[in-house]
């Protein structure tokens, strides 16, 4: 037996689902209402989660459990409070310190990680002997991979006039980009359709019980 609350919840979900879909007809009050409810719930969800998942375990519990041992945590706590000073224009400048620390850390780490993963490892992954592959398909593929990567990077090289001979690799680079955009296109279609299927399954199954 399903309880009243479960049934009520499913009807509520269905109502919200349909209100959002009503945007397809045109922008209307029901859609606007649902959308603002979504914004409100989402903000509250973040807030509550930050409190229970970060503030309590990583800061307050540690300070309450062993204050003298965790004295150093008062520094990030103070920096955090300085961050909140951003709310008021007069105290906004105080928040520049925690922001600078956050941005500085992020900049350092992203610089290293992008350099390693997105540049160096991509370079070494392209340094392959195309003829070492087992099948003809893979040999052709590997050659395409090398040429495509080189021409693609060259397409984004802005310091050379792309005329005559120098226009050729750039042109090839665009072709590869276009093929890749085609693939992305296909995958995006796939993704959007999947999400729709998920919602229809809810409406037809959980709500209307039409799916066995």
């Amino acid at each position: 037996m399903t309880s009243f609350f479960t049934t009520f919840g499913i009807w509520l979900s269905a109502l919200f689902t349909i209100s959002i879909f009503s945007f397809l007809y045109k922008d209307n009050p029901l859609y606007k209402f649902s959308e603002q409810v979504f914004v409100g719930l989402s903000a509250a969800y973040w807030l509550v989660n930050i409190i229970y998942s970060i503030m309590i375990p990583n800061l307050f519990s540690k300070l309450i459990g062993d204050f003298s041992g965790n004295l150093i945590l008062l520094i990030p706590a103070a920096l955090g409070l300085m961050m909140l000073m951003r709310i008021h224009p007069a105290t906004q400048w105080i928040s520049r310190y925690p922001i600078a620390i956050m941005i500085g850390t992020t900049a350092g780490i992203s610089m290293l990680r992008y350099m390693k993963s997105d540049i160096l490892n991509q370079v070494t992954a392209t340094m392959i002997n195309p003829f070492a592959a087992s099948s003809t398909g893979a040999v052709i593929g590997n050659i395409l991979l090398i040429i495509g990567t080189l021409c693609g990077v060259y397409f984004f090289y802005f310091s050379k006039k792309q005329e005559g001979f120098f226009a050729v690799p750039s042109k090839i680079g665009i072709w590869f980009l276009m093929i890749s955009f085609g693939a992305t296109f296909g995958y995006t279609v796939m993704a959007r359709i999947s999400l729709l299927i998920g919602r229809l399954e809810f409406l037809l199954g959980n709500w209307l019980h039409l799916i066995k």
């Binding site: 780490i109 390693k116 993963s117 070494t124 359709i193 729709l196």
Partner: protein, 274 residues
């Protein structure tokens, strides 16, 4: 006959709605091929030793759960099948709820799996890449306790697991930033832990360069199709497989729309030329 563009739109919307609804109501049961990327992800889990501790990071929210939730369930089930113990974490706050739902759905078939011994849900942490880097140094510093407040040291399965390097594999189920990219960069490339993962179909093409002989990423599950392939590999009739018929029909419909649109454009262009 002249149809206004807004009517035209509404017709298209209705046709799509029906095309997706019908196969859901009357399933066909078509089979699909398994792609190499899915098999690679499967092999990583299959070949990891028994009893090893693994980590699945839930870096998505309900907006993409149709695509990603089946992957989560399939990977948890696969890990349970192989007797591996699963840590769930989340870089997105909503991921924690997703993890909870995934566990409770898989646990129905594995009633003897116990919380704390076979799986734990450590929950959400803010900070993305920086936080993963901190986990690589010391997990218990980042996660002093699990969701319910049980201290890290008191969870039996986490004994001997001090940092990411102690894990057999990490899977990030990701629908944006922070997510799989950050895991590849930090856990994979910086700490050398095998990373696999799943993502929405939209971001899949951008992740394929990581699947290379440098082993930055061990295979990839891209979208609902890959989730259904994975379900097939572990003999699970799951939520993804049941949706594939609708997916196929809808794809066909989109292609038909493109074709009609192009024919129409061609005809009108010729008319203008004349």
């Amino acid at each position: 006959m002249k149809i206004s563009s807004s009517t035209e739109r509404k017709i298209i919307y209705s046709v799509l709605f029906i095309a997706v609804a019908l196969p859901l109501l009357f399933p066909i049961g078509w089979k699909t091929d398994v792609s190499g990327y899915t098999r690679m992800a499967y092999d990583l889990i299959e070949e990891s030793p028994d009893e090893s501790v693994v980590l699945i990071s839930f870096d998505y929210d309900p907006s993409t759960m149709t695509e990603i939730q089946p992957m989560a369930e399939a990977q948890i089930e696969h890990a349970f099948k192989r007797n591996q113990r699963v840590i769930a974490t989340a870089l997105w706050p909503m991921g924690v709820q997703m993890a909870e739902q995934a566990f409770s759905s898989v646990i129905k078939n594995y009633p003897d799996k116990q919380y704390g011994i076979d799986y734990v849900n450590l929950g959400y942490k803010v900070g993305g890449m920086v936080t993963i880097q901190a986990m690589g140094r010391n997990l218990s510093e980042v996660y002093p306790a699990d969701q319910g407040g049980t201290p890290y040291a008191e969870l039996p399965m986490l004994k001997g697991i001090n940092r990411l390097k102690d894990l057999a594999w990490i899977s990030s189920l990701s629908s944006g930033t922070p997510g799989l990219k950050e895991w590849v960069m930090v856990a994979g490339d910086s700490y050398g832990v095998p990373v696999t993962g799943g993502c929405t179909a939209i971001s899949a093409p951008g992740f394929f360069p990581y699947v290379n002989e440098q082993r930055q990423l061990y295979g990839l599950l891209g979208g609902l199709k890959a989730a259904s392939e994975y379900e097939g590999l572990i003999d699970r009739i799951g939520p993804a497989t049941m949706k594939m018929d609708a997916q196929s029909i809808a794809h066909l419909l989109i292609l038909i729309f493109i074709a009609i649109g192009n024919v129409k454009a061609y005809v009108s262009r010729r008319r203008v030329a004349q």
